[in-house]
Symmetry: C2
Subunit: 337 residues, 2 copies
């Protein structure tokens, strides 16, 4: 099959491109490079021996999308492209709705116009919001508590309505928990611009000397050690989940939502300790007050993906930290090196 | 003040344009005329002695919006434009999300770029969905049960996040119940294209001979006579609610949501009987099974609009029917006559 991967030069995108190539698919990448580097695709080519056609196209450009869909014949789309910083989304929500929601509507219109009606969408555990207790199950009502999460929720609703209206559409909504780690080669990984929003990239930058110390927001949660619990998933496992979802859609069609997580959580201190083991020394940290909107525990009920896709995570927290550290150590400034 | 009214040639739009002119405002109308006629604005001009600048612009055309905002200096926008048929929205949801949601995002971006940060938005009681019991109160969680309602819900969320991010924005979300009736002159009114989706226009077309009989969907609801209860609001009262909301925003700013309804409901048979009185003869009807998604009772808690805006409805069901019938009788084929 030929798969269009939007946002395919980004962190999860590039790992999924690699997994698709290894599974024997043809892949075309579109990305606006606003938070990604073409260097990631050069390295995927180096790892696989296959070059990936790249198009610099923005979701907000309907003509560019039309040209892209005219220039290739796609069987399916894996749609990663979008803004993803929770804090920023509260500051510039209109930009988030414009790029994520209106951008996805443009993509779906282009797909429909060109007869491509299969899509795997990057949703997020953020859609569960703060009204439920972990483990989160797919049937729970959505209720994101920030604009970023609401863009994911709106796109899920749009895709669900689209699938209900026209059975030619095949749709997978994948709710990611906390993707971390990197390909074991250390050649591709997460390269956040500015101050990292997520825990492991921040720890990695502390370890490599780019940040002074880790701030831990909240040590008085009702958890094993007082710090927040999240469900970390190795990006290589996550990429495999996309290939599995794509295969399922090809065989069965329909509209589906699956959590992609380990089904178990780790605390901030547990992650920090595991990362310290990978690095081989203690890393500096400091406790700070809880952040508004953060919940104590978030982890998946991962049983639906196992039952439907035969997919589950395979990598341990130590492997996540070792692989993340190998990438960071070899590429202290990400792809800018 | 100078007010841009999107969808200003439509049913509620044209009545609101009239009310704004009567309140001494300058008005500019944009409309794509997909479900409206410029004739409505000619008649508003005839009733008021003032012509209204009209621009045929579509919400999905960002360049057209930019030209419009460059050619006038607006103080506020009243935003009616959008698709509005519940049944159709389940058939072509992508078109609804494209025109309503992505279209509104384009409008908000144009407003922001031109420094116009005051908006009164046409929301709907549909956002309450079927998880609550009437009377519906603004603080209830939204949960629309059809794509049309979800477009309203998504736009409410976008506007709420926008207002929270930037206090320069003033935002009123008006949740209409069931607008009916027409201006007492009989010169402007509702002119649905195709088969009417709503009760009173359907009855009116039966009365004028364009439809054979009224189908009443469900006569076994737990209501006074078994037929569904809705909160009917005279369109002239509704238009006055928009002027009141605009005045409130100008004085106070902020983000607000108000039900615009009578606070009391009428059954389908009560409406049919009132319309029959207005026409002066019995009108044919037939019972049919309930429609999926319909609820037994929907009516507003109208106390917030009274407390905040000093606004409440003034017209009786008989007046609604008399005014609606005058319009229909004088214009049996709407503006096409």
């Amino acid at each position: 099959m030929t798969i269009l991967v939007t946002g395919g030069a980004g962190y999860i995108g590039s790992h999924t491109v690699l997994a698709l190539l290894e599974a024997g698919h043809d892949v075309v990448v579109m990305d606006n490079l606003s938070n990604a580097s073409e260097e990631s695709l050069r390295r995927v080519a180096e790892l696989t021996g296959r070059t990936v056609p790249f198009h610099r196209v923005d979701l907000t450009d309907p003509e560019g999308l039309d040209r892209l869909f005219s220039s290739h014949s796609f069987d399916s789309v894996i749609h990663f492209a979008g803004l993803k910083a929770v804090g920023e989304s509260a500051e510039i929500p209109l930009e988030y709705y414009y790029r994520n929601v209106a951008g996805t509507i443009n993509l779906l219109r282009a797909m429909d116009a060109h007869g491509v009606r299969s899509i795997v969408f990057s949703s997020s555990a953020t859609v569960y919001g703060d009204n439920h207790h972990a483990p989160f199950v797919e049937k729970m009502e959505m209720g994101a508590n920030n604009p970023y999460g609401r863009t994911k929720e709106q796109i899920e609703d749009i895709l669900t309505d689209l699938g209900a209206s026209d059975e030619r559409w095949s749709i997978a909504l994948l709710r990611y928990f906390n993707p971390v780690g990197a390909h074991e080669s250390g050649r591709i990984g997460e390269d956040p611009s500015g101050i990292p929003n997520n825990l492991m990239p921040f720890i990695a930058q502390v370890a490599v000397g780019r940040r002074e110390k880790l701030m831990i927001f909240g040590n008085d949660y009702p958890t094993v050690d007082g710090t927040g619990i999240r469900d970390y998933i190795h990006v290589v496992d996550l990429a495999a989940g996309h290939v599995a979802a794509l295969n399922y859609l090809t065989a069965h069609g329909g509209v589906h939502r699956w959590n992609l997580g380990a089904g178990t959580g780790s605390s901030v201190l547990q992650v920090l300790n595991a990362f310290s083991r990978a690095v081989g020394r203690e890393l500096p940290y400091e406790f700070a007050p809880r952040r508004p909107g953060d919940i104590a525990e978030s982890y998946a009920d991962a049983s639906a993906a196992l039952a439907d896709l035969g997919w589950s995570t395979t990598k341990t927290l130590d492997q996540m930290c070792e692989d993340h550290w190998r990438w960071q150590k070899n590429n202290p400034n990400g792809y800018a090196d």
